[in-house]
Amino acid sequence: MQIKTFVLGIDGVPYTFLQKQFAKGAMPNLKSICEKNGFQQMNSVFPTISAVAWATYMAGVNPARHNIMGFIDRIPNPFEITINTGSGRKAESIWEALSKKGQRVIVINVPMTYPPLPVNGILVSGFLCPDIARVSYPADFSRYLQDKGYCIDVDAQIAHESRLTFIQQLQHVMKNRFDIAFDLIREREWDFFQMVIMETDRLYHFFWDDLEDGHEYSGQVQTFFEQLDEKIGILLDKLPRNSRVLFLSDHGFCRLNSEVQVNNWLEQTGLLKFSADGKKNLQNYAPETVCYSLLPGRIFLNLKGREERGTIKKEEYGSVRNYVKDVLASFKNPQTGENIFARIFDREEIYEGPYLESAADIIVHPSRGYDLKSRVGEGDIFNKCFMNGMHTYSDAFISGINLDVSTVKTIADIKNILTA
């Protein structure tokens, strides 16, 4: 009989966070799994954002081979900002590969799987799916979900209104997702089961301070993790003994000290310009512009022949890009002198493949605490914000039962192990 594989993705959970939890004796189920089976720190992807990270996970290749470069993208000419969906992915996912081998799969709530594409089994798409009626493949499976009170995602808007309600909803939705998974484990035939818990990411974004410093909601936040751990314990009981089980996060988290509006800064340096008349937004950037940024930290040169109002000649591409990198490297926090960008890459340094041309020309990764945003025209370069946690690259985690994950260095390495 086919050995079953279950993958639990827990969005944004840092390796070091779990270490601390385990040290103080919290989350005993996951702790015992990690202690018995190996527990590793893992790198994410650049830019470090869930859309790209999960796409890289499921496709097992770098973004220039799967073509998902961020949540949003731009069409250069005529300039337009668009939102990426899962059908823009250009490389086969783990579950598509397994489906072709005849394995039956169940996939629940992985980001960048909307619209739900066919698999040999069931796929329930996740974050950014606009309507529960369109959440699943096959389409009529959504009735089952609705009957069980399934919720795609807690609306983050609630956090702005009531933090307590938000956290209670996160707890509820997380538990409900597990309960539905438990039913499916029992009721359906499957060989590969994948589920992602998104609520952790929301929790870290909005409650990092509470976690670290023991603020108002630290009790509720800790409760959330205890509930999560309890569900993980039940999950293990429900799976057959010899199952292969994988736990992972797609990136880490750290404290967000300040948001950085990269475009506002580019405007200040003179690299980004707007025509005097008209509204200040990216659609209206002036031809003299050298570069602009899309979130997070993706810098596009205003290249002639590619961009709508491109002026940089191709022959100058290399030299202009080097110049821009020098300017980027000089960006410091005026108060502390700290570098804003920890790493500055030419795209071909970190990507390779047929969709390289859809990537940004330069990708920057921030120093700890600076979350890169791309607001245009309003406000300062640095601002505080409502959220207080942000993503990190090198602090994701992975742990596997009956699976050797010792060769996994980054999130792109996992597919091979699961489809081998």
Partner: protein, 267 residues
């Protein structure tokens, strides 16, 4: 010369070539927009006096609009209209069935056509197919031979060059002549608009639905559309042929997603 005129003149040239070469010919008229456009061009080629019959294969389950349209214009344009039914198959109880398109199309269309060719000894048939309809049609020839079983030997297609086409049918063969091969769906509608060619009302949206093709009766499903005039159909096609941008959210979804991303600081 503009695109539509160029297409029109080339099609008329092909139509005249076909008749000159084969004489025993007929046009297949499904009453749809393509074959009605073809009929219009044939009328132009022969100054309104078409020297061959127009053949309508009747599956017995067409929309009533189709029959009305057919009979009206057959009379008005003085067509030598042959209506052929596969009486035998209809007698056996085979009707058009969306769940078994193969059987109904096979019996009612292909066999009916075979019978008609046999009965009238046609050597060539004019069809209104276009290269943009379907991947495989991109490879069709203007004069395309079919053997007695209607088989298309696409691996050994004849050479065509400089308006010289295959001009003889071998024993059991017949030739399919495709004067509209180089037209696109949009060309057809723009030409219909330019020439004021009548088309059946089924193409125009009623209550948010319209037919994009009316080939196979019950098997053809209306599409969502608000286009209730030719102008609107053309606008609709222009936006759909510029193709949805693959992998990017469409307008309807995108405002929802935008709001979601914004609430998480991603926009």
């Amino acid at each position: 010369m503009d695109r539509l005129s160029e297409l029109e003149n080339q099609s008329i040239f092909i139509i005249r070539e076909g008749y000159n070469r084969f004489h025993k010919v007929a046009q297949l008229w499904s009453i749809g927009k393509d074959s009605t456009t073809l009929l219009w061009l044939i009328r132009k080629a022969f100054y309104g006096q078409i020297p061959f019959p127009v053949l309508h294969l009747d599956t017995g389950r067409k929309f009533k609009e189709i029959y009305e349209f057919r009979d009206k214009y057959a009379k008005e344009w003085k067509l030598n209209l042959i209506i052929h039914k596969n009486q035998e198959a209809i007698g056996r109880g085979i009707t058009c069935n969306p769940n078994n398109a193969l059987e109904c199309c096979g019996e009612l269309k292909t066999n009916a056509l075979k019978q008609a060719i046999e009965k009238h000894k046609f050597r060539a048939l004019y069809l209104g197919i276009r290269r943009d309809e379907h991947g495989i049609r991109a490879k069709e020839r203007v004069f395309s031979p079919r053997n007695e079983n209607f088989h298309w030997d696409y691996k050994a297609q004849p050479l065509e060059m400089w308006d010289h086409y295959k001009a003889q049918a071998e024993n059991e063969e017949h030739l399919r002549i495709h004067p509209l091969l180089g037209w696109t769906e949009l060309d057809i509608w723009e030409y219909i608009r330019r020439e004021n060619i009548p088309v059946t009302s089924l193409y125009f949206a009623v209550n948010g639905k319209r037919y994009r093709s009316i080939g196979c009766e019950p098997a053809c499903v209306p599409v969502d559309s608000q286009a209730d005039t030719i102008d609107k159909i053309i606008d609709e096609l222009k936006t759909t042929t510029v193709a949805e941008r693959a992998g990017r959210a469409q307008d309807k979804e995108s405002s929802y997603m935008m709001q979601k991303l914004r609430s998480l600081g991603y926009m």
